[in-house]
């Protein structure tokens, strides 16, 4: 029995090597997000003009920036903020999107029409510009970056959930629940919603990567977090001006870590999709 479980696990892993690799990477990122501040070799905010703009060395693996701050420490500490923004933004749009999508899909009729109309309007916006506009209008704080990212992700969740609910609305198990006297809200919350959750996990994972890129993009055009906070996007944006003068490490390392994080979420999303529904695999 034990051996079969083991061999089965081994089979699953061997079939999804990349996914497990990505999962490992994800765990590392989570570790950095939790313990980054504790294990960073230097204070990420402490400047030291004596060692400004030093190339990577044994003392500073990723070099130092224009204020002599350790780039490695800043990259490590930034993990928490970047992942935090992505997680909160995705969670927010997932919650609101689920509520809207479930209502629209389950009730149909005018709630559906109103919600769909609003979502259509949102879709017609150039999304990145909408995010820029929102952050510019509300002020560039972390909270507002989260709101803006959540809003531009909203159509995705609402639409996917709506169509998933629509498919299952008339399904046997829903009928059964209805006949046993469950109310609409209870059916939605207890029976329909848990059913579409696995599919949503895939979207959440893919979306995380996009949320990180989005926040970084906002930082790049100057609508990101306030200095001296360490954040990957802003570090790349700041470092970008130093590339030509030869200080490539300031942009390269945060950029590479940013890329790896997004890469990891994308692979994870793919892998989850395979596990949940191999036929969906693309």
């Amino acid at each position: 029995m034990a051996t079969t479980t083991f061999s089965h696990t081994r089979y699953v892993i061997s079939q999804n090597l990349i996914t497990f690799g990505a999962f490992g990477l994800f765990l590392i990122l989570v570790l950095f997000a939790i313990f980054g501040t504790a294990i960073a070799p230097y204070d990420p905010l402490a400047s030291n003009s004596a060692i400004a703009l030093q190339a990577p060395s044994v003392a500073h693996w990723f070099g130092t920036d224009q204020l002599g701050r350790d780039v490695l420490s800043r990259v490590m500490v930034a993990t928490q903020l970047d992942l935090g923004i992505a997680v909160l933004a995705v969670a927010l749009s997932f919650l609101v999107g689920s509520a809207l999508g479930t209502c629209a899909g389950y009730f149909g009729g005018w709630p559906d029409r109103i919600i769909s109309r609003c979502i259509d309007t949102l879709m017609a916006f150039p999304l990145f510009v909408l995010a820029m506009g929102l952050v510019a209008a509300l002020g560039n704080t972390v909270t507002n970056i989260i709101y803006a990212t959540a809003i531009i992700n909203l159509p995705l969740y609402t639409r996917v959930i709506r169509s998933e609910i629509l498919i299952r609305r008339e399904a046997g198990f829903v009928e059964a629940a209805r006949l046993t006297g469950n109310g609409d809200w209870r059916i939605m919350a207890r029976h329909l919603f848990p059913n579409v959750l696995p599919v949503m996990m895939v979207h959440i994972s893919l979306n995380m990567g996009w949320a990180i890129l989005n926040a970084a993009g906002l930082s790049f055009i100057g609508l990101g977090v306030q200095p001296p906070t360490a954040e990957w996007g802003i570090m790349v944006a700041e470092g970008a001006t130093y590339i030509v003068s030869g200080e490539w490490w300031m942009a390269l390392f945060p950029g590479a870590v940013l890329m790896v994080a997004v890469f990891c979420f994308n692979l994870l999303g793919d892998g989850l999709r395979d596990l949940i529904d191999p036929r969906m695999r693309t």
Binding site: L45, A46, S47, S49, A52, Q66, L67, G68, A136, N140, G222, L223, Q226, P227, P228, E238, A240, T241, Y242, I243, V244, S245
Partner: protein, 561 residues
């Protein structure tokens, strides 16, 4: 000593320019030499060279600098395609670079001028051979229309004309086709003549514009925005906002020596790194308005001609809001001890080294409370001294510190961001918790106007190079936009107004200027950091660069070998 030489220079100027008498010398500049002899009269004459230029700080957005919203880079293009009645002379600075000289007025469209004996008017004699780009002769009617436009159109041009007491069309009179008379509101305003040589009073081809005038647009702003109606040394070739502008030499230009460069191509390259790469790869001739870091590193490369000139009458500073209340709460910076403590806690040397790469003139650390010169900007007595700062804090009403916000303009982030981070770190030692607020450029102007932040990084510079002019905008109780501290002190106002009414060389002028500078050091509503430099890097075959107060390139003197 310096003063006497200045006055002597003033005396030797063209007849009747009384206002140019003995103006103060710039802090870092030596006494000007006799300018006319030194002016590089476009050595070598006209060539068929093409000059390619990229610049920081934005891209020209209009050909009409009277329009609402015309940006500063547009002054450079306007400077080339339009003429003014007069221009300034030039002088050679200590490091060999050439700068305009605001004590010397030279002819441009006007070949001569006389100030009336009563000092209440000036009569300009226009060049008879000057023509606009369409071949029409430049007449006094065009000059009057152009001056009327500047004082009537509203916004910045009208404001700038007012600074020289040029306020109403009634002051401008056409005597005959080639004679134009300006009546002064009062005698002896030292700014009036100079104000007619700044970029604003350009001479526009009025006959060319008139068909495009409408009742909603009586001054042809829409047409002039993208069309050339000038008589300047260059005509507009292509004008594509945010992309490229080409200028072609006007070979019939009579108002000065014909420029050497045949065609100028201005390209919009928003990324500073790309601008530098283009220069290093030899794809462009000039990279203008460099960041401090590029000034330093390009100079070190030794492959380019790099010139950095301190920007006259300009100061980077920390401004602290001085009103007792701000946003309904008590404002710690109303306490002068707190302000002095901040001035002692500011990490000047670190800012100078890491934020400005030593490419600026330090404005701190003399240790002398009483100024001994009337130069402006001049270094403050303060230097970094944590012990003194802590002592002052202990004496203040906030011995345990407080929390505050320091706002800066995103447009200045290259030096502003490292500077505020360093300030934040230093003030933490005094128990002052500083939150940094990076404000997009458009909003920063509102921050200045509203005076809604306890601390800001300010970078005011005045065109007209007088300490009283600077103080009128930065320290006077009229609370102008650039008085970032919202500082109001009747005693200070009295001194500033007295200096404004006087002129350099008179004893009461010196006394008042020294008086208000001493008061600024005592009260410390703003902590001067540095006087910035304007940097340009050119390929080695380019010469003839001159620094101008409007901070734009003057293509007319440049030579490409």
């Amino acid at each position: 000593m310096r003063r006497r030489r200045l006055i002597k220079t003033g005396m030797s100027l063209a007849a009747g320019i009384t206002l140019a008498n003995g103006l103060k010398a710039c802090g870092s500049a030596p006494a000007p030499t006799d300018s006319a002899a030194d002016a590089p009269a476009a050595a070598g004459g006209a060539t068929d060279a093409t000059l390619t230029v990229v610049q920081g700080g934005g891209f020209p957005n209009s050909l009409d600098l009277h329009r609402v919203g015309t940006n500063r880079p547009a002054y450079g293009v306007s400077w080339a395609i339009y003429d003014r009645l007069m221009t300034f002379g030039t002088k050679t600075l200590a490091d060999g670079s050439v700068s305009y000289d605001y004590t010397v007025l030279e002819p441009e469209l006007a070949e001569s001028w006389e100030i009336a004996e009563d000092g209440l008017s000036v009569t300009f004699n226009l060049r008879k051979d000057a023509t606009f780009h369409d071949g029409a002769p430049v007449t006094a009617n065009d000059v009057k229309w152009s001056f009327d436009r500047a004082v009537s159109i509203g916004g910045f041009p009208t404001f700038q004309m007012k600074a020289g007491a040029l306020e109403s069309p009634d002051q401008f009179e056409v005597v005959d086709d080639n004679t134009f008379k300006v009546t002064f509101l009062t005698a002896g305003n030292k700014l009036t003549m100079i104000d007619m040589a700044v970029p604003i009073p350009v001479i526009i081809n009025s006959e060319l514009v008139k068909p495009h005038l409408t009742t909603e647009d009586p001054w042809g702003a829409e047409w002039l925005n993208s069309n050339d109606a000038g008589s300047g040394a260059y005509t507009i070739g292509e004008f594509k906002p945010n992309e490229r502008i080409t200028l072609t030499r006007f070979d019939d230009w009579k108002s000065g020596p014909l420029p050497a460069i045949q065609e100028v191509i201005l390209l919009d390259v928003p990324e500073a790194g790309n601008r530098r790469a283009l220069l290093e790869k030899g794809d462009i001739d000039i990279n203008y308005d460099l960041s401090e870091k590029d000034q330093q590193e390009l100079a070190d490369l030794d492959a380019f001609t790099v010139t950095s000139v301190p920007i006259e009458n300009c100061l980077y500073s920390i401004d602290m809001h001085t009103n007792p209340e701000l946003a309904g709460a008590a404002n710690p910076f109303a306490d002068v001890k707190v302000r002095q403590a901040v001035a002692y806690a500011t990490p000047y040397d670190a800012i100078m080294a890491t934020a400005l790469y030593d490419q600026a003139v330090p404005m701190y650390g003399t240790g002398k409370a009483e100024p001994d010169a009337i130069d402006w900007p001049q270094p403050s007595p303060y230097k970094t001294d944590m012990e003194k700062a802590k002592a002052l804090m202990a004496e203040s009403g906030y011995p345990d510190g407080f929390e505050t916000t320091l706002a800066f303009d995103m447009g200045t982030k290259e030096w502003g961001e490292p500077a505020v981070v360093l300030i934040q770190e230093s003030l933490a030692e005094l128990g002052i918790t500083v939150n940094i607020e990076k404000v997009p450029s458009a909003n920063f102007r509102s921050v200045l106007v509203e005076k809604s932040r306890p601390m800001i990084i300010n970078n005011f510079g005045g065109w007209l190079n007088y300490p009283d002019y600077f103080f009128f905008y930065a320290y006077h109780g009229q609370d102008a936009t650039f008085n970032g501290s919202s500082y109001k002190n009747p005693e200070m106002d009295k001194k500033i107004e007295a200096a404004l009414a006087s002129e350099p060389g008179k004893p009461e002028y010196d006394e008042n200027v020294k008086g208000f500078i001493a008061m600024a050091w005592e009260e410390m509503p703003r902590v001067p950091l540095v006087q910035p430099k304007l940097g340009v890097a050119m390929q080695p075959n380019i010469s003839g660069y001159q620094y101008w107060f409007h901070r734009q390139l003057d293509f007319r003197q440049l030579v490409k070998a």
